[in-house]
């Protein structure tokens, strides 16, 4: 027994009414000169469109403007007889997908067709077929599996939605004619729904001797086999959709970069001397080696290896976390200074750029309460980091230099050791700064943290 939880996750919302409704059976005689297609069209326009009733309120597709392309219709022999198959064209571009389709989507125009056929009493039947290939059918460019919907023009289900696959059943027979005995059959998926209840028997005399139990009951819902009302089944899809069904993939537009516009990034901060406004600036440091002044190190993970070739150097990072609290709301913005392109000890300069460091972890941080003026002086200094021509330099204007200079612009001086490194380089660095912060005598408006806590950006404004 197959267990499928078929969940449709449509671009177009799909909700089907389970009513089974056999539609109009009016007989229209073939007038002299009328082709079968003409007759089908005449029947559809007079009986289905004219008298079919309002669209199903639960069916989004049934409410969309659409037309039948009688000019593209054709006569096809289906399993239940000859039928007129006409593509249906939706006025607006609509796409649909499902959990069995993989990453692709389909245009409703490519997977929807109107089927008109006569039964043995020459009465017309009309159904709207929608077919969503699953990933197997997509790969195999076939109609061998997927989801099939058979509805009337008003969006009511003529038969239950069908999830079907093709399965080869081997038959153990001796073969005298060269056949291998394999038979191709349609397999309707049965959906089993189980419910479990849990109970506990409690005895007041022996409270510790309770007994827990559960009961599970299952019901299996089988989908209808092809019935006698003449509506198409999965075997007919090859005749209905002869053209390869194009599949569309959604390319997500890349996200914007909020810190590309630093003024916009900082716009939610408000300058106020009211006592309800509290401002803090946090200096966060990730050291190359925790608890060490080592300015940088050969990476012990990642690409670490030989002294020749591609040796990565982890220099750590220093950045600032600006936060304003009004007692009602808090606004927090992380900002770090980086080079725009790769830098090496021997090629230390590149255009500078600001980045959102809210996901960085730190080894140590120092938080300082500042005045609104100090806060905005620091913001103003920081804002130049994106300016064209404002360069990052691995020695003289790196992330640590930038952060400490920004704090100095607000009148906050942080003692910092100048480090040296291979190639004659020297300057401020996260390794030394981290250790400087650890040994720092804290003033009353300062606090330190040696455990990396989350520090996401918070607060929005218009």
């Amino acid at each position: 027994m197959s267990h499928y939880t078929t969940k449709l996750i449509p671009v177009v919302f799909l909700c089907l009414c389970a009513t089974c409704c056999v539609k109009d059976k009016r007989t229209i005689s073939n007038a002299v000169g009328h082709t079968a297609i003409d007759s089908a069209q005449l029947y559809f326009e007079s009986s289905v469109l004219g008298e079919g009733g309002p669209p199903n309120s639960q069916n989004y597709r049934a409410h969309q403007p659409r037309t039948v392309r009688w000019d593209l219709s054709r006569t096809v022999l289906l399993s239940n007889g000859q039928a007129i198959v006409a593509p249906v064209q939706f006025t607006h571009p609509l796409f649909i997908t499902s959990d069995v389709t993989g990453n692709g989507s389909f245009s409703l125009n490519d997977i929807t067709a109107l089927i008109v056929m006569r039964d043995s009493s020459a009465q017309f039947h009309c159904s709207l077929v929608t077919y969503l290939p699953d990933s197997t059918a997509i790969v195999g460019v076939s109609t061998s599996s997927g989801i099939m919907l058979v509805e009337d023009w008003q969006g009511n289900s003529i038969r239950a939605p069908r999830r079907f696959v093709k399965q080869l059943n081997s038959i153990s027979t001796s073969s005298t004619d060269g056949n291998d005995g394999n038979v191709e059959t349609d397999v309707d998926v049965n959906i089993e729904v189980c419910n479990t209840i849990y109970g506990y028997n409690y005895s007041s005399d022996f409270p510790d001797d309770g007994e827990s139990w559960s009961e599970t009951s299952c019901n299996t819902y089988g989908l209808q086999q092809l019935g006698s009302d003449g509506s198409p089944g999965p075997r007919d899809l090859t005749g209905i959709f002869v053209r390869r069904i194009p599949i569309y993939t959604v390319q997500l537009a890349p996200p914007g970069n909020p810190i590309g516009n630093i003024a916009d990034y900082f716009k939610c901060f408000t300058q106020s001397d009211n006592s309800d406004h509290q401002y803090t600036v946090t200096l966060a440091v990730e050291q190359p080696v925790t608890d060490s002044r080592q300015p940088w190190t050969w990476s012990s993970t990642g690409l670490g290896g030989s002294s020749a070739g591609t040796n990565p150097i982890n220099v750590g990072h220093t950045w600032l976390i600006f936060s304003e609290s009004t007692g009602i709301a808090t606004t927090t913005r992380n900002v770090g200074f980086y080079p725009q392109s790769i830098v090496l000890p021997g090629s230390a300069t590149a255009q500078g750029v600001l980045a959102n460091d809210e996901n960085m972890g730190y080894d140590i941080s120092l938080t300082i309460n500042v005045s609104s003026q100090q806060f905005f002086d620091m913001l103003n200094y920081t804002s130049q980091g994106n300016n064209a021509g404002y360069d990052y330099n691995l020695n003289s204007n790196n992330c640590t230099t930038f952060a400490l200079d920004a704090m100095a612009a607000g009148g906050v001086a942080i003692p910092a050791t100048i480090g040296t490194w291979t190639g004659g380089g020297q300057g401020l660095d996260p390794g030394d700064l981290g250790e400087d912060l650890r040994g720092m005598q804290l003033a009353g408006n300062m606090s330190q943290n040696t455990v990396s806590n989350p520090h996401p950006n918070v607060g929005t404004c218009n």
Partner: protein
């Protein structure tokens, strides 16, 4: 300029099943074989394909002693192999741990590239689950 050998270069557009891992604070004990132990977030294959459609290898001269300032660790499936990459937080470059080849994306795409990784990593922190 020297370019990594052709046999080392991979067509990253064909990679799929991208995952980002939360290895912050655990980088120094990271083991490739224990990827499943880390919280992760699934990345969108189409988005990654978009960014990697115009990727180019970094000349070897520019990778000797390259400075890292933090990175994201991601994995993907390519040529029936799980590949682990380091995605730099700056410079628009990433490195393939298996071949030790560096690649970089066009400058014009780097801003949104950073933001995509930032948002993806944020989703790990917020929801703390593997997709």
């Amino acid at each position: 300029m020297g370019v990594p050998g052709f046999s080392q270069l991979l067509n990253w557009e064909k990679a799929s099943s991208w995952l980002m891992y939360d290895t912050i604070g655990r980088e120094r004990t990271f083991q490739k074989d224990s990827l499943s132990y880390y919280r992760s977030a699934r990345m969108n294959d189409d988005t990654m394909k978009y960014y990697l459609s115009d990727v180019s290898p970094v000349p070897i001269e520019k990778t000797k002693g390259v400075v890292w300032m933090g990175y994201y660790r991601v994995s993907c499936q390519l040529l029936d192999t799980t590949r682990v990459l380091l995605i730099s937080r700056y410079g628009g470059f990433f490195a393939d741990l298996s071949t030790k080849v560096y690649y970089e994306i066009p400058v014009a795409e780097r801003a949104s590239w950073y933001e995509y990784f930032n948002q993806t990593f944020g989703s790990i922190a917020r929801f703390g689950k593997t997709d």
